[in-house]
Symmetry: C2
Subunit: 281 residues, 2 copies
C-alpha cells in the first residue's frame, strides 16, 4: 500500500522515517509537457533501488503515481507545455519515496507502508553547451558498498560539498579518499581517454544517475568502447585525455571547459549523440 | 531564527531539507521527570555539531527550546515522573534539528532558518544489566571524515544493519571495511584490554555518543587508562581481553554477555562507576 502525497498540499508527518533517518530515495525527472524524459530508466531505477533498501513498492504503483502526478501538476506548467518545442522548456517533477512511519528506532517495522511525496518546480537555467567551469570540492566522497549508486535521502556529503560553491563554478567535483575524481555533487562523470570512454563504476559512486546509464548504452550501441573503472587522479594532464563530461538527467551531457582553471578540450559530439530529449515518445 | 515545532501537532513541510537530504541532526535524551540526563553534554553536542554542518543556531536557543519542550510534554509523562525513583522510570525526548527549507538543490540558502522538531515517547524496556546478546551485522560501516561522529539524519547504514535483527540480539555491531568492530547500530563500544580501556576514536565512528564521552571522562577522572584507537578484529579472542561494553545515553553502560555465540567475561563495575542517572541535579 503506497501513500501518495503532494508536497505543497500535504505536509509530512514528523515521524516519517524519511525525515528521521533519510530512510528513502528520490528521483528528479525532467518533464516536457506531459512527457517524462528517460521515463523508463527513472521508473526502473526507483523500483530497483527501493527493492535494494527493502522498501516494498511495485513498479506499476510507481508508474501509476507518476501518471497521476503529471495530470495533477500539468495545469501549473501549461505555459512550459505550449513551448515544448524549445530546448529549454519543460518542468521538473520530483518523487521522494520513503519507508513511511513506524518501527523501533532504526529498525523498520515488519510491514512498511511506503510514502511517496511529489513536487513540481520550474526547469532551472540550462548550462552553456560550449562547456562549463568546474572546480574540485574539498569534501571527500566516501561510499558504503551496500548503498553505492542509490539516490538515497542521505545526501549530506553533497550538501557539504555544495556549500563550497563560490558562484563561478557550474559544478564541484568530489574525489574519493585516494584522490580519484568520482562524481559531481549532482552529476556523474565520463571522460574520453585515447580510444575509449571512461566512467567510474557503480560501486564507487554515490549516485548512479539514469543519464549515466543512458549515455553508456548509447555509446555501446554506436560501437564505442566504454570502460567502467576509476578515473586517474591526474586525468586531465594525461597525453591521451580528450575531454570530461558531466551527466545529469535534467541537463543532459555538459562538457567541462575548465577544471580548477585548467582549460580542457571540448567536443560537442557526445551531447549530440546522446540527447535524452530525442528519446521522447 | 529557530522555528520550533512539536511532532504530533505540527507536520513538517515536504520541502524541509531534513527530509530532502537528511540535512540535519538529532538528539535522543533520557528524561527523569523534568530533568534531562546528561543535559549539558547533549546541548554541547547538538550545538557543536550544528556548527560543524553550518547550521546556525545558538546553544542558548537550543537550551530554551529544551526547557519549553520539557514543560510542553511533562503532563503526558506525569506517571513516569511520580515513579522517578525507579531505575526504569522516565521518558524520551527527541530533538531533530534541520537546516530548514530553501536553497537550490543540495546547495543551502545563504541564510538558513533552522527547524527544530520535538517529540516525546515512552522509555523503552531496559536491557538485562547482567549482560546482553549481540551479533555482528553484515553491513559495513563507512565513515566520511567530514561527518565522523555527528549524529546526522543520514542513518541509512544503521537502518540497513537493523533489518538484520532476528529477535534474540539486543544489539548488532558494525565493522569497518578492514573488519574492525566500530560501533553498534545505536551504541558506542568500549573494551577492557589488559590494564586499559579501549574505544574507537571519534574520526572512525558514525556517531560519537554523549554516553561515550561521559564514560571516557569518568574513567580518566578515576585515574584509569583510556586509549582511543581502533579495536582489533579478533578482540574477544585476545588473552588480555576482559570485557566489551555498549554505551548509550538512554541505556547507560550495557555489558556484552555473548558475541556471535562466544561467551564473554562480564563485570558490572563499569556500569556502577559511570551511571548517568547519578549526575542528575
Amino acid at each position: 500500500m503506497l501513500t501518495v502525497s503532494v508536497a505543497d498540499r500535504d505536509p509530512v508527518p514528523a515521524a516519517d522515517r524519511g525525515l528521521a533517518y533519510g530512510d528513502g530515495l528520490f528521483e528528479t525527472i525532467r518533464m516536457v509537457g506531459n512527457r517524462a524524459v528517460l521515463r523508463h530508466l527513472h521508473l526502473d531505477r526507483i523500483a530497483g533501488d527501493a527493492h535494494r533498501l527493502g522498501i516494498t513498492v511495485s513498479r506499476s504503483d510507481l508508474e501509476q503515481a507518476l501518471a497521476d502526478a503529471i495530470q495533477y501538476f500539468q495545469a501549473d506548467f501549461s505555459a512550459a507545455q505550449q513551448d515544448a518545442e524549445s530546448r529549454n522548456s519543460g518542468w521538473i517533477l520530483k518523487m521522494i519515496l520513503t519507508r513511511g512511519s513506524g518501527g523501533r528506532g532504526y529498525r523498520p517495522p515488519e510491514s512498511t507502508h511506503p510514502h511517496l511525496v511529489l513536487s513540481a518546480s520550474e526547469l532551472p537555467p540550462m548550462p552553456d553547451q560550449r562547456g562549463v567551469q568546474v572546480s574540485y570540492s574539498s569534501v571527500p566522497l566516501v561510499v558504503n558498498p551496500l548503498l553505492a549508486g542509490i539516490k538515497t535521502l542521505n545526501r549530506l556529503e553533497q550538501v557539504m560539498a555544495s556549500r563550497e560553491f563560490t558562484g563561478g563554478e557550474w559544478e564541484l567535483l568530489m574525489r574519493d579518499l585516494s584522490g580519484a575524481p568520482v562524481e559531481g555533487t549532482r552529476t556523474n562523470l565520463i571522460a574520453r581517454l585515447g580510444d575509449e570512454w571512461l566512467t567510474p563504476p557503480v560501486e564507487s559512486v554515490a549516485v548512479a544517475g539514469v543519464m549515466r546509464q543512458y549515455v553508456i548504452e548509447r555509446l555501446k550501441n554506436l560501437g564505442e568502447r566504454v570502460s567502467q573503472r576509476l578515473l586517474p587522479a591526474d586525468l586531465v594532464f594525461l597525453p591521451e585525455f580528450q575531454g570530461l563530461y558531466l551527466l545529469n538527467s535534467v541537463f543532459g551531457v555538459v562538457p567541462v571547459r575548465t577544471l580548477d582553471g585548467v582549460n580542457l578540450p571540448v567536443d560537442a559530439s557526445l551531447a549530440t549523440i546522446s540527447d535524452p530529449l530525442e528519446t521522447l515518445e
